[in-house]
């Protein structure tokens, strides 16, 4: 058991730190959260810089440990988030890399890495959330195209995306997991309507996407027709791997800020609150160690994170909510003020136990795949 960097890892870390220190002061100011074109340009610009510096494919080709160092160091340095590049870099890109043809990889991967194209995700539907395989958006073959009709929900960056990784039903007669196909849909195709979806935090981070007879070339299909579920599973296991590593680092920082605030406003003298902060400190230390443990396991097996990602996701999502509930306890009545720094974070933390597989689904996955309990439901 070794937590220290190998010489190669230490060299990578040192180079990255040096580069971040040089490049971050020259970044343009962050756009406001509701300026979607501005956010797109900012996020793509950051990806372009990463690409030019040789860090573009750190999410794909680098070893899991190198990826973890990248996420740790960029977060510690306060570098921009992956933002609008999220689906391209962490969902669609890896799927195309794993399952696409040479031609498809050549068409779609370089623009993702160079920060030229934005992808969004068309998976969930109003009637298919946790039971994603129940999706009903229909694709009917017409010559060299699929004609797609249906609706998707919880689509981030749909307003500014160039492509959508889309799951459609191509065989309504087959068992639900078998009749699904994975398509890359150009977002400028006729028949697509994007409607912003306002969340309880007041902002429109997501959108609904309505599809009315949208024509998608058959050449845009990744994997075989009706094999989209298997293709998709490759993507989802990426999501539960190191996707939250940077956030754990960020939560540790927030925890430090809570301690500062509590000492400033006197609530630090409340032993119950102090111990709650102490316990959270333990929690986030442990979550970082769990990340390292999972990454080392992935490194050793060369595999995707699998069910251990569910263990992490489950624990982390609840810890994040406890962090911001504790922030509210530190703030006292000020926790009701939307202009205080942690109030919106507390609201958005509520999505963590729901998005990317609810806590209940994660429990199911762990019970079935790790503990070998019989399939229930």
């Amino acid at each position: 058991m070794d937590l220290s960097d190998t010489p190669e890892e230490a060299a990578f870390r040192a180079r990255l730190r040096e580069w971040l220190a040089a490049v971050l002061p020259g970044l343009p100011p962050k756009p406001s959260p509701d300026d979607w074109p501005g956010r797109r340009a900012y996020d793509l610009g950051w990806q372009r810089r990463l690409h030019d510096a040789g860090y573009a494919d750190v999410h794909w080709d680098a070893s899991p440990t190198t990826r973890l160092i990248f996420l740790e160091e960029t977060e510690k340095a306060g570098a921009p988030y992956v933002g609008a590049n999220f689906v391209g870099l962490l969902h669609a890109g890896p799927t195309i890399a794993a399952e696409g043809t040479a031609e498809q990889r050549e068409r779609w991967l370089p623009p993702i890495l160079r920060g030229e194209e934005v992808w969004c995700q068309g998976f969930s539907e109003p009637g298919a959330g946790s039971d994603l395989a129940a999706l009903r958006t229909r694709a009917r073959r017409d010559g060299d195209a699929y004609v797609v009709t249906g609706s998707k929900i919880w689509t981030s960056h749909a307003e500014v995306a160039d492509w959508c990784e889309l799951l459609v039903r191509t065989d309504p007669e087959a068992p639900k997991h078998r009749g699904i196909t994975w398509l890359a849909m150009p977002m400028d195709a006729p028949g697509i309507t994007v409607r912003p979806l306002r969340t309880l935090a007041g902002s429109a981070e997501f959108a609904e996407v309505f599809l009315d007879e949208v024509r998608v070339p058959v050449a845009n299909r990744v994997g075989d027709e009706d094999d989209g579920w298997r293709v998709t599973m490759v993507t989802l296991s990426f999501e539960r791997g190191t996707a939250f590593a940077g956030e754990v680092v960020a939560c540790r920082r927030v925890l430090g800020e809570l301690a500062v605030e509590a000492r400033k406003n006197g609530r630090w003298d409340d032993p119950a609150l102090r111990r709650r902060l102490g316990r959270l400190h333990a929690e986030f230390r442990a979550l970082w160690r769990l990340t390292q443990w999972n990454v080392s396991a992935a490194e050793a097996t060369g595999g995707v994170p699998g069910a251990s990602g569910s263990v992490f996701k489950l624990r982390y999502s609840h810890a994040r909510q406890e962090l911001y509930d504790t922030a509210a306890a530190v703030l006292g009545p000020d926790c009701l003020d939307l202009d205080r720094p942690w109030t919106l974070d507390r609201l958005s933390a509520l999505s963590y136990t729901i998005a990317a597989g609810t806590s209940q689904i994660q429990h199911d996955i762990i019970a079935e795949r790790i503990l070998g309990l019989p399939r229930g439901r």
Partner: protein, 359 residues
């Protein structure tokens, strides 16, 4: 970074697990509990020679059977486990004697076998006759001991190796005063700390006799906290296995109860706490950082206590019986939460660490 067990560490864990399973199996555990069962408040007052008069049904371990331990010498944990194999017997009793109040006893044969295995001398340098391994290995071995509910002052004797003659070899049983409690006081040859005024209490854990002493504040040894956390991790691991086994096997309404989400999710929750605690305990063993150790303790305490509680719940009525093994894990886990200042001290340490980070 290579935060996973090395091949040697894996072999050590598997070897120790095998040896413990042979040397202190479920039957031996049951026999030890039966012997200790009914121990009164004054249980510690009898002489060491006294041996329970009844309930020693296990073969080869009757009163007067004498200590049995592995033949041969020299080989220790570092060479791969398996030293216990040649003995093959059940936990042995000391020399026979008149019965008295039945009480949990340190099995001297087991203790010497642990000594020979290198359990106590694990971290002593080889130049001092030790195994020369470190905290990561100690944590693995203590987790296995916790998993099997191995009775006796394991941490205190381990920490005394090199300082108290005979501790390293298991010839000497060492107890230690910890806050307001002493475990295994009457069974110890050497007691570290001031046990003046010790009063026996009727211990909730049949396999951990306890004395109350006037509480004195003393800084807890981080290594003692870490090894306790390792034992808790072992308990948590075991109750996770037991819960899942039961959920797969026990049928109600025509289905294994594990097919019901309410039950399955309890089991999954146990596993999540185990895995989180494992990462924290192993990392603390690598860094030795007091804040990492305090974190490991909090996570491992939670994993063990809540795990045992949920395991009991999964077992339903069976879990509430004396016959079930589940209550023994819960009670031992409760005992361990009282060590080294308890949870509060670790929480305060971590809060203070947070404050000093941002000062």
């Amino acid at each position: 970074m290579r935060f996973r067990l090395t091949d040697d560490q894996r072999a050590l864990r598997e070897g120790v697990r095998e040896v413990f399973a042979r040397r202190f199996d479920g039957e031996a555990l049951r026999a030890a509990v039966d012997r200790a069962d009914g121990a009164g408040a004054g249980s510690g007052s009898e002489g060491r020679g006294a041996v329970p008069g009844a309930g020693d049904g296990a073969d080869g371990s009757g009163p007067g059977g004498g200590a049995q331990h592995a033949a041969g010498g020299g080989s220790v944990l570092g060479d791969g486990a398996g030293r216990f194999g040649s003995g093959g017997g059940r936990p042995a009793e000391g020399p026979g004697g008149a019965g008295g109040v039945r009480a949990a006893r340190v099995d001297r044969g087991l203790w010497r076998d642990l000594g020979e295995l290198g359990f106590f001398a694990l971290r002593l340098p080889e130049s001092e006759g030790g195994v020369g391994l470190g905290l990561p290995e100690a944590v693995l071995v203590f987790a296995e001991a916790g998993r099997m509910l191995l009775p006796g002052p394991l941490v205190a004797t381990h920490l005394a190796a090199g300082a108290v003659p005979g501790a390293a070899t298991g010839e000497t049983v060492v107890a230690a005063v910890d806050g307001g409690l002493v475990e295994w006081l009457a069974e110890a040859d050497v007691v570290r700390g001031d046990a003046t005024g010790a009063v026996a209490l009727r211990s909730i854990d049949p396999l951990t006799p306890l004395h109350r002493v006037p509480a004195r504040r003393a800084a807890a040894d981080p290594v003692a906290i870490l090894l306790t956390a390792a034992e808790q991790l072992g308990t948590a691991t075991r109750v996770c296995e037991l819960a899942a086994q039961h959920a797969r096997a026990r049928e109600q309404f025509g289905r294994p109860v594990g097919a019901f989400q309410a039950v399955a999710h309890l089991c999954a929750g146990i596993l999540v706490r185990v895995e989180t605690a494992r990462a924290a305990v192993h990392a603390a063993a690598v860094t030795g950082d007091p804040a990492d150790i305090a974190a490991a303790r909090l996570l491992a305490d939670e994993a063990a206590v809540r795990g045992a509680r949920d395991c009991l719940q999964v077992h339903g009525g069976m879990g509430f019986t004396w016959e079930s093994e589940v209550h023994l894990h819960l009670k031992r886990a409760w005992v361990r939460t009282q060590r080294a200042g308890g949870v509060t001290e670790s929480e305060e340490l971590l809060a203070a660490a947070l404050a000093s980070e941002t000062a």
